[in-house]
Amino acid sequence: YALGGSAWKKRVLTWRVQSFPRGSALRPDVVRTLMHFALAAWGAETDLTFREVGTQDTPEPDILIGFSQNFHEDSYPFDGPGGTLAHAFFPGEHPISGDTHFDDEETWTFGVKDGEGTDLFAVAVHEFGHALGLGHSSAPDSIMRPFYQGPVGDPAKYRLSQDDREGLQQLYGKASQTPSAKPTRKPLTAPPQPPALPPDSPSTPFPDRCQGNFDAIANIRGETFFFKGPWFWRLQPSGQLVSPRPARLHRFWEGLPADVRTVQAAYSRPDGRILLFSGSRFWVFRDRLREGEPRQLTALGLPEGEQVDAVFSWPQNGKTYLVRGGRYWRYDEAAQRADPGYPRDLGLWEGAPLAPDDVTVSNAGDTYFVKGTQYWRFPKGTVQADPDSPQPLGPQWLDCPRPPQTTPQPGGCNCQCEINQ
């Protein structure tokens, strides 16, 4: 553990939630309850007592809790969704000492699986550690690690790690009673019970990534995104999934209209902009959706009403390829116009499947055609698929079990062959 350098001299600390999250599904009474339990987690290990006060009480409480956005009159402006989540001020005599701020632009949640939002209880326990005088710890199981690590379970049963307990007790000593016998909170009114945690199976059904058949796949700033319906998974450059549970499309791609339920193709342009395609329209994102979107595919040289199965930018020539069925068009980003003489036959890409789900280029520069549960790899700079293509997508990319090896059975078969296979 690490100490911040100051501690409270008193043992009864007051607190109040000054502002509540505006865009969150969490009701104010749930937020208050979660704060009670987050403080109680620390109070259980020492003789500290936390008392909630009302707005009419003076002086100002020791720990003033608020949800705010961007610049909010301290030295730590928030940065919107992701990035920094919250902060708190170490103990002291200054009015802001002990105050705890949460970024109102996060999707604050409680009781949902990791990946759905940011668990308010887990972050609150961490921040109250600062408000009581602890700095960041690198201990593996410490709540004071600086990076968000996901939900920590039932607030009523939560107990600090040994590292956190020892850090706190260094500042305030051990509790004179056992945690279970000690009253750790004294709310204004009887707080509601913590919301019940959902069962292990999430209430919202989401697709199985191991079944493949993605709508779109794209390499976006080094990470591979797999889109399926209103969901997507992210694969880090290290090859690790950000979460086995997919994230919601519209929570991440802000501004994408709610009626867009699938992304049919996606790619990252050489200038860093990200294009999502659905139907005959496409949207351009950078840090956020560009104004004036969507645009029509005709702007990229496709005929009126045409759609795309796959879009990718080929590093060898910097051109953008737009694939539909067994044909493709080519767009010159530098000249901002479609190349003449297209569409052409996709057969140029020897071994590629017709109507791929999408095509993407890896960080190593190889091109991958993906269809169903398989991928076809085209080594960097070539238009010939690896001889051992196709390969199963899930085990290689998505942490899925390898399909069982099947032994060919003698006798007739009912199979179809495509000219490229």
Binding site: G5, Y76, A139, P146, S238
Partner: protein, 87 residues
């Protein structure tokens, strides 16, 4: 591991400074940082992030810098604050 790109290096140094792993640049000095200092800073950051302490600003480390986190600096020693660590 390949050398980090100039873009990643710039972002990485900015991030390491913001969270206390590197001292803030002095306005009157050239912003030269020795590779050794940078490697040490990256190693400490990797410890906090739960990554192997290689000292290399590789893709995994840069990706970790993009993870959601608390705004407070991780290393407070530069501010002269008391730090104690369990053995």
């Amino acid at each position: 591991a390949p050398e980090p790109s100039a873009h990643d290096l710039s972002l990485g140094v900015d991030w390491l400074t913001r969270y206390g792993y590197l001292p803030p640049p002095h306005p009157g000095q050239l912003q030269l940082r020795s590779p050794l200092k940078l490697r040490d800073a990256v190693k400490v950051m990797q410890r906090f992030a739960g990554l192997p302490e290689t000292g290399v600003l590789d893709a995994v480390t840069v990706a970790a810098m993009r993870r959601p986190r608390c705004s407070l600096p991780d290393v407070l020693g530069l501010a002269g604050l008391v730090r104690r660590r369990r053995r």
